[in-house]
């Protein structure tokens, strides 16, 4: 390859000696790549904690009645699992890790627009995480409201709701600042010749995500502040006994938290849109359609929050309107799926580990998306509302979608990040275990959900036990596969064979600089003269 640079006489960002030493060279670094790695280590650790909590829930549910914990512990665990996984893992997730690591490189910049603000966002994120974790250990006991903090129970429960909501507020602030930074970076820092329609599609998806972060997060911020004030001062906004309206809380909460789902999934779709052309050696089919579908998902995503509340009490007009809009948001999502598949048509498909994860993403995302239409229809939603069908749908989208995209991204970019390659055989084996384990874990929940198994229940009728046992077996498979994957990746990053600058024959800018990238990314800011996916 002509664009492979001999990589001997440069200082990589991993070896760079700044003015700080030791750990401070990392936690005070303003280099976007180091900040991306800091986020990755934090998020991976919290993901592991969240996964263990999930496993504990699955073990508890293996038989009806008390198995390993008391009901109140169970309530705490599903709440903590939700708070950690939603606010600390998947909402920041791909955009802060791979967005920070690669977005500036992909647009040909040396850093983000505000590097110090970027570091500040990480510190706020860590502060929020410490608050969220401490809410589990303070005296009143872990919050037991579920991650949604629905009023009026969240006003009356004696647990640490204030600390947990304050943590979510702080994490939201970090999310806003990252979004702001990315928008300004994408507007102002693109290399010469990099028009908006020459940006890699991962950047487009980050751009759409950043707007959602910016426009939706303040609403949940003020809502959580109101909830705190409600608990401290009895201001009455959400307390029916004082004239307030608990359904109002649900509206305000979902005005943010539904768009938040697109904060999670859009960067995931962006990663997949990078991986599929590389491993098919084909130009992305319908570049502009994919780019605009990200914006369309972001835009329409603001208007569908009511579908979380079909049974909460709304006018019939509002109900069918939200249902219609929910179906409309499926259109741009489907555009992406069709374009991914069309991109592979007549391509030379190479089933390396990143591609395996990307393909399983499409499979799982389709199951999650289609089951979402069941929930978006008014009549069927009433039947499956608040059952484990919802749990299965949500995990297919968020874990099967965002989680698998994260695994795909780390397998795709690890040789670039560390300059070393992992073992393909073990990567393939752990992929297979994770993929099978995932389906064994979550698919039975669709079935018992249809049959009437409620979600968040500690105990259940004996007829649901078969489904729960299968699901718990899947949970163990998943966690074994996950541990194997992590060991393989860590081993690859530390001791793997040296990776070339462009191991997958990719065409976007990160593959045109050495692995690992130099401290300044580019010696000379590149001038862009071609589209990012010119494979043919």
């Amino acid at each position: 390859m002509a664009n492979n640079i001999e990589s001997t006489d440069y200082v990589s960002y991993l070896d760079y000696q700044g003015k700080h030493k030791g750990i401070f060279a990392w936690i005070l670094a303003t280099d976007h790549k180091r900040i991306g790695l800091l986020y990755m280590y934090a998020i991976a650790s919290f993901f592991f904690i969240g996964a263990i909590l999930g496993l504990l829930m699955r073990i508890e549910l293996i038989a009806p009645g008390e198995t390993i914990m008391k009901p109140q512990t169970y309530n705490g665990i599903f709440t903590v699992h939700g708070i950690i996984m939603i606010f600390m893992v998947v909402i920041p997730g791909l955009s802060v890790v791979f967005g920070n690591l690669f977005m500036p490189i992909l647009i040909g910049a040396r850093d983000v627009a505000f590097p110090r603000l970027n570091l500040f966002s990480w510190w706020i994120y860590i502060l929020g995480c410490i608050m969220a974790v401490s809410s589990q250990f303070l005296r009143q006991g872990p919050p037991d409201t579920g991650w949604t903090f629905y009023a009026p129970y969240s006003i009356s429960t004696g647990t640490n709701v204030i600390m947990a909501t304050a943590a979510a507020f702080v994490l939201g602030f970090s999310s806003i600042l990252t979004g702001l930074n990315f928008i300004v970076t994408i507007h102002r820092m693109r290399a010469p010749g990099m028009g908006y329609f020459r940006m890699p599609l991962f950047v487009w998806s980050l751009y759409a995500t950043a707007w959602i972060q910016l426009l939706a997060t303040p609403i949940v911020g003020i809502t959580l502040l109101m909830l705190i004030a409600e608990r401290v001062f009895n201001i009455g906004f959400f307390d029916p006994a004082l004239g307030g309206d608990p359904v109002l809380f649900q509206h305000l909460f979902w005005i943010y938290s539904h768009p938040a789902v697109y904060i999670m999934i859009l960067p995931a779709m962006g990663v997949i849109t990078e991986i599929i052309p590389t491993f098919s050696q084909r130009k992305v089919y319908g570049y502009k359609a994919v780019a605009f579908s990200s914006l369309a998902i972001a835009g329409v995503g603001f208007l569908v929050w009511g579908h979380h509340m079909f049974t909460s009490g709304m006018s019939n007009t509002a109900l069918w309107f939200f249902s219609l809009l929910t179906f409309i948001v499926a259109v741009p999502s489907a555009i992406k799926v069709f374009n991914w598949i069309a991109t592979m048509y007549k391509g030379s498909i190479d089933l390396k580990p990143p591609m395996l994860y990307a393909l399983s993403f499409i499979f799982l995302f389709m199951i999650g998306g289609l089951s979402g239409l069941v929930l978006g229809s008014l009549a069927t939603d009433v039947h499956v509302h608040d059952t484990s069908f919802v749990v299965a749908h949500f995990h297919y989208i968020v874990f099967g979608g965002m989680g698998f995209a994260f695994f795909a991204a780390i397998h795709y970019w690890l040789p670039k990040i560390y300059g070393r390659m992992y073992n393909f055989k073990w990567a393939n084996i752990s992929w297979a275990i994770i993929f099978v384990g995932f389906n064994v874990l979550y698919f039975p929940l669709f079935i018992i959900g249809m049959q009437g198994m409620p979600r968040r229940y500690y105990d259940y009728l004996p007829q649901f036990q078969t489904g729960h046992v299968i699901s718990t077996i899947g949970a163990f498979m998943l966690i074994i596969g996950f541990i194997m994957m992590v060991i393989n990746l860590i081993n690859g990053a530390r001791n793997g064979a040296k990776a070339p600058a462009n191991p997958w024959n990719g065409n976007t800018l990160e593959w045109k600089i050495p692995s690992p990238p130099p401290h300044e990314n580019f010696d000379q800011i590149p001038v862009i003269t071609e589209d990012p996916y010119n494979y043919l």
Partner: protein, 205 residues
């Protein structure tokens, strides 16, 4: 290799800084937007009680505070213009006037809240909880909205004071005034929100 120090010499992008500030102002408006939404819903639900409760506010103090904030918005804009004409001294004086206005606003607010507190009317008080639902929600909104706004006044004051000391030390100057400009933008936002709060809470009755 010789390019490794480029980071420091990279051209400053004031436009980017301003764009970032505008985006942040967007989020602040949305933050208050949530409160305006709650206000309109409860006003719709309890129109007469909101009307009655609004009569208890002191329109005079509210009006004086509005004038104070409008003046301060003007002086901060003038301060920026003065700096752009390289009149450092005038810029500093005008900034101090702005901060003084902000302080005056807070003092007025202190007395206004103080009267209410003396009557036993504050969030969480027994009197509040005995009020009719509409009045309780009105006063909750009043304290919540003006309290959050006062917090923004304090943040704005801190930003402007930082700008003041940076003008003093010459770090903010005729060629490099993005900090002052962004501080002024933020201060206009604080002013703007009050322009909405004043009629909603004091005048509509």
């Amino acid at each position: 290799m010789e390019n490794h120090s480029n980071h420091i010499e990279e051209p400053r992008d004031d436009y980017a800084a301003k764009l970032g500030m505008w985006l942040f102002i967007f989020t602040e408006l949305l933050l208050f937007g949530g409160l305006f939404l709650v206000y309109s819903i409860f006003r719709f639900k309890f129109p007469t009680q909101f009307h009655q409760a609004a009569l208890e506010l002191n329109v005079t103090i509210g009006a004086i505070n509005t004038v104070i904030l409008l003046v301060s918005s003007m002086t901060v804009a003038m301060s920026l213009a003065a700096l752009q004409k390289n009149n450092k001294k005038l810029a500093k004086i005008l900034l101090l006037i702005t901060v003084f206005c902000a302080l005056l606003f807070l003092v007025n607010k202190y007395f206004e809240w103080g009267v209410k507190f003396n009557e036993g009317l504050y969030p969480g008080s027994d009197l509040m909880l005995q009020l009719e639902h509409g009045s309780l929600l009105y006063f909750s909104l009043y304290f919540f909205m003006t309290g959050l706004h006062a917090l923004h006044i304090i943040i704005g004051m801190i930003i402007l004071l930082v700008a003041y000391f940076k003008i003093n030390s010459g770090k903010v100057n005729i060629g490099k005034y993005a900090l002052l400009e962004n501080g002024a933008l933020y201060w206009h936002l604080v002013d703007l929100i009050w322009i909405f709060l004043f009629p909603l809470l004091y005048l509509i009755s």
